[in-house]
């Protein structure tokens, strides 16, 4: 049966077909649809699914489930790997018990990402965790299943890495409609809605204390060589096309661009398509490049494959890559055609269109967004020269016109940490803005630091009762879980109080007078102060009212 699926929906489908038991993650773009995909089906399919407080916790939760024997899927965007990396590296050492796939969505061209244009494939070198790199939704589904197989066979987590153009690509996908049946674990235990594993104590595997930790490293290196042998035989690395003195090596979305480019230019060249990014099938690559004069490596962002292939080629042939393709921004068929044209001498004339310099329509706050009340008031009351700390989420629109009130923007929760540094380093007044999602994700340690080490920023938490930017995911402030269950509603003001903040106000920002007075009053405080502006996201309100 074929069904049109988004890349991320295909990952959910693949996980269902593999019989996933346990899902944890943190929403981001372009990865959020994977966690969201379990929202309505988890209970029915006998799966446990949660949005965790951040990616580090999400991974740790999954580690606990895997150690208890369950099949687990973790989901996050590129920067999430940075957050969870502290636990990712030891996980490579301990390995898994129940199989685990870690899905990571990269965003070349930063369509929906601040921070950096990250190529998460680099984590393969840091962690020595296998990485699979699908090109389209069909492969998203197939590679997810394969990822679980590899994980089960070698007791190691497997990273499934996509990019925006893979995750947000749609195509007809061949699916196994049998995956619609309930999870077998639930059938064997109909009383249990949620799959249960058993934690069998095994500190030899699960504790990374030295000197055992160095033994573990040796075991990991041996494991990777076994997986390399597996990769040499795997069908997801394949050669297509006829023999030629020129060859192409491509992965991810670049493989689709190269097929399109060969069609456009009307040339036939052999292509080695790599589904494995790590470990690489080195023998297969060596065989492919043997006897060739030129190789073009087509990959987005960093030249990881290119460097590996240069190493394997040992100066016997010319390797082209980032000398003819950009390191910044995503690739497309035109860019690949230009590169191919340079190497093959085949003429490529890019269709000339009239150059128009059109004004950019940047993101803005939605109609009715509560932030429309908050940002102008803060700006109005703040004395000249006030520093505005920004953070990730809808509130980063504060940096755009007409607000223009953002003096630094880094990673989730970073705004307040930087604000404390600015406060300690200068006598300037700082207002640090963050959303409710960010507060729970990583704002709390920075808040504790601010109180503990005594600086005096005014913190404004824009609590719109949801994690909005990534498509309305629940968070600990809402009293609801991903699976729709009621839970404790964590109050930002109570956490702030427990962290030692003495000056706290909670208000509805449409009462602009009250907001204005609160900002005025707190700006002159010699200690840290915090205002919670609590009003529901306008889009969510509209959705709730049908």
């Amino acid at each position: 049966m074929k069904k049109i699926l988004l890349g991320n929906e295909a990952i959910v489908q693949g996980a269902l077909e593999a019989g996933v038991d346990f899902v944890s993650g943190y929403p981001g773009c372009p990865s959020a649809e994977v966690g969201d995909g379990f929202k309505d089906i988890a209970k029915e399919k006998g799966i446990y699914a949660e949005w965790s407080t951040n990616e580090k916790v999400a991974l740790e939760v999954a580690i606990g489930a895997s150690f208890s024997g369950l099949k687990t899927l973790v989901n996050m965007k590129s920067f999430g790997v940075n957050v969870c990396s502290d636990s990712l590296l030891p996980l490579a050492y301990t390995g898994t018990k129940g199989p685990m796939v870690i899905f990571i969505g990269d965003d070349p061209s930063c369509h929906s990402s601040a921070q950096s244009e990250q190529d998460s494939r680099g984590y393969a070198y840091l962690s020595r965790i296998p990485i699979l790199d699908p090109s389209d939704p069909q492969e998203c589904c197939d590679f997810t299943k394969l990822g679980f197989e590899i994980s089960e066979k070698f007791n190691i987590p497997v990273i499934l890495r996509t990019t925006t153009r893979v995750s947000h690509q749609k195509m007809p996908v061949t699916i196994n409609s049998k995956s619609q049946i309930l999870n077998p674990k639930q059938i064997s235990n109909p009383k249990s809605k949620i799959p249960k594993g058993v934690f069998i104590k095994n500190p030899h595997q699960f504790c990374t204390m030295p000197p055992r930790v160095l033994e573990m490293k040796k075991e990991l290196l041996q494991k990777i060589e076994k997986i390399r042998q597996f990769a040499e035989k795997s069908k997801i690395n394949k050669v297509i096309g006829k023999k030629n003195k020129i060859g192409i090596i491509a992965s991810s979305i670049s493989y689709l661009h190269i097929l399109e480019a060969l069609k456009t230019l009307g040339i036939q060249l052999p292509v080695l398509k790599l589904g494995f990014f790590y470990p690489l099938p080195e023998k297969m690559i060596t065989d492919f490049i043997k006897g060739k004069k030129k190789i073009l490596v087509v990959e987005e962002l960093d030249p990881y494959l290119e460097n590996e292939i240069v190493r394997l080629a040992k100066d016997k042939l010319t390797i082209y890559g980032k000398d003819v393709l950009p390191t910044v921004g995503e690739l497309d068929t035109d860019k690949v055609c230009i590169a191919l044209s340079k190497i093959t001498g085949k003429k490529f004339v890019i269709e000339k269109s009239k150059i128009l310099d059109l004004p950019k329509r940047s993101a803005r706050l939605c109609e009715g967004c509560p932030y429309w009340y908050i940002l102008p008031i803060i700006k109005k009351v703040a004395t000249e020269g006030t520093i505005f700390g920004g953070d990730i989420g809808c509130n980063m629109i504060a940096g755009l016109s007409p607000h223009n009130m953002q003096d630094y923007l880094f990673s989730m929760g970073a705004g307040l940490g930087i604000s404390h540094g600015v406060g300690k380093a200068t006598d300037q007044k700082v207002i640090s803005i963050m959303g409710d999602g960010t507060f729970f994700h990583s704002g709390i340690p920075a808040l504790i630091n601010t109180v503990y080490n005594k600086s005096s920023p005014l913190i404004v938490v824009l609590d719109n009762r949801i994690t909005a930017m990534t498509g309305h995911q629940v968070n600990p402030g809402m009293g609801k879980t991903l699976m729709g269950e009621n839970t404790e509603e964590l109050k930002i003001e109570e956490i702030a109080k427990a962290c030692g903040v003495k000056h706290i106000k909670v208000l509805d920002p449409i009462n602009i007078k009250e907001l204005e007075e609160a900002v005025k009053e707190f700006l002159i405080k010699k200690e840290v102060s915090l205002i919670v502006c609590r009003r529901i996201c306008a889009l969510l309100l509209k959705k709730q009212n049908g």
């Binding site: 049109i4 128009l356 329509r361 993101a363």
Partner: protein, 189 residues
Amino acid sequence: MDKTFNLILRGVGGQGIITLLSIINEAAFIEGYDVKSSELHGLSQRGGSVETHIRFGEKVYSPLVSRGQADLIIGLEVLEGLRGFSQANSKTKFLINNYYLPFSGSLKKEEILGKLKMISKSNLYLISASEICKKELNNEVVSGIYLLGYAVNKKLIPLKTTSILGAIKKVIPEKYLELNKKAFGLAHD
């Protein structure tokens, strides 16, 4: 159809672009074509420009339409429609909703329409879809579906009415099914 049909669908976040894309995808699939599309979520959906690509034909590899390769550009807003120019060639049809959503620093509407006419020459179809949908159905969000009805009727897109109706049924929730069918039929009958 001998060659792949390349469609660019543009508008402003919140105009129902992803839904329209899904309907066209499903209709092409119903007709037995291979189909690929590319969309964007997140920040770009917050009132910014949204550009999506749909390609269907015998065999489609890349989900992105190359420069100058679009057969049809559907713009749900005039300036966003004009932005499709980089994928246009001299034969590209422009089907543009005569709807203007200005922002600070935006071009004047007359200027946008002037540029659209200059680029598309005789291939411009400027349709007041939002206005008609608001008047007839009291709902502007379905203006994209209205434009799709127009495109099928004028053969700007090689898809059949029955496949689109089948696709609408598949994509649109029961509650809004009639509204969407009506919007499609308004320009089509």
